[in-house]
Symmetry: C2
Subunit: 185 residues, 2 copies
C-alpha cells in the first residue's frame, strides 16, 4: 500500500468523492498516534465543486515544475481535507499532522483515490476564503481525487531530488537508495 | 491496519527482530512522501541486546504514567529505529519524520511487531552513547518489539487525554470522537 501511495497532482475532476469517504479517512487519522495523546488536530472536509474551487487558488503546486501552474480545469482535485492545529489545545503540534496525513493518504489509496500533501499554502488567503477562525493554525492541505497521472520512482542521480515530467506526461520522482539512508556508525 | 497499530510499550524482550525486517521498514519510509522530495532523513537500526541496552536509557517513557519508569527487564524493546535529520541536506525537516514514522509503524504491525514513536529523548546522552555526529539531528526514536500488552481505545471523558493502566495492566487510550475533529464553519 505504501508503494502504491504516490503523490499525485492530476485527477479526473468529474469524479465525485463521497463525503462519507472523506469522513472515514479522517477517522483513520483520529486513530493514529498523537504526541502525548493530546490530539490537537482538527479537520475541514470539502467535496463539492464550489467548495473545491475556493480551496484550489490557495494551493502552491509542484515547485520544481516551473512551467506548470498546477492542474488544469478538468484535472483538479475533487476533494480536500485541510488539517488544522487547534491552538486552544496546544501550540506545539510536533509531527502529528505528518502522522495523520500519511494515515489519510494510505487510506485514500485503499479507497481507489490518490492525492498530495501540500504544506506550501497561501495561508492568509485560504483563511479569508474559508473563514477559518484565528484559533486554528493551517497545517496541511491534502488534495484528493481520482488520479489520471502515472508516477514513476527512479533512482536518484547526482543527488538531484527534483521531480520531472517526461514527454508522455508521466511524473518521475527520484528517490535516494536504501543504502544511503541507513547509517553505520 | 491503522486500527491495529496502537502505541505499545511492553514487549517480549526475548523475541529477536531480524535486521532485514528493520531494513524493510526503513524502505517503507524511503518510499513515503517527503517535503519538496528532499529526503533529508537518515536512519540508525539496532537489534542486538547490547545495542538496545545503549538506546534504552535515553528514552523518556510514558509521561502520564507517573509511577512507571518504563518497561522492566524482560519487557523492553528488542529493536530500535532512530530517525535522524541530515543537516547537510536541509535544516527544515517539516513533518517528514511523522510521515516516515507512521509508515514504519504500520509496516511493523503488518510484520507482527508493535512499538511506540518517542520524541521525548535525552538527546545529548544518546548522541554521546551512540557517537552520532553533530551533522545529524535526533528527531524520533521508534521502539519496536513483540507486544505483550493490550491497548484499548476509549472514548474521551471530560477532555482528559491522559492514557492509563487498569488493574489487569491493559493500557487505555482516550480518543476524541470524530464529531469533535471535523469542523463545520
Amino acid at each position: 500500500m505504501i508503494f502504491k501511495t504516490r503523490s499525485c497532482r492530476r485527477f479526473d475532476e468529474s469524479f465525485h468523492i463521497e463525503y462519507k469517504t472523506l469522513e472515514e479517512l479522517v477517522d483513520l487519522a483520529r486513530l493514529s498516534a498523537s504526541g502525548g495523546n493530546r490530539q490537537p488536530l482538527k479537520y475541514l472536509i470539502y467535496n463539492s465543486p464550489e467548495d473545491c474551487g475556493k480551496v484550489f487558488p490557495s494551493v502552491v503546486w509542484a515547485a520544481y515544475l516551473k512551467d506548470w501552474d498546477g492542474p488544469a480545469t478538468g484535472e483538479r482535485p475533487s476533494g480536500y481535507i485541510i488539517i488544522l492545529g487547534d491552538n486552544s489545545i496546544t501550540e506545539a503540534f510536533g509531527v502529528d499532522h505528518g502522522i495523520a496525513a500519511q494515515s489519510i493518504m494510505l487510506g485514500a489509496t485503499e479507497a481507489g483515490l490518490g492525492g498530495c500533501m501540500i504544506a506550501s499554502i497561501k495561508r492568509e488567503q485560504l483563511r479569508n476564503e474559508l473563514k477559518i477562525p484565528e484559533r486554528y493554525e493551517i497545517l496541511l492541505i491534502l488534495a484528493l481525487g481520482k488520479p489520471v497521472e502515472k508516477v514513476i520512482i527512479d533512482e536518484i542521480k547526482d543527488n538531484d531530488v527534483k521531480y520531472w515530467r517526461d514527454p508522455e506526461n508521466n511524473h518521475h520522482v527520484p528517490k535516494r537508495p536504501l543504502n544511503d539512508l541507513i547509517i553505520k556508525i
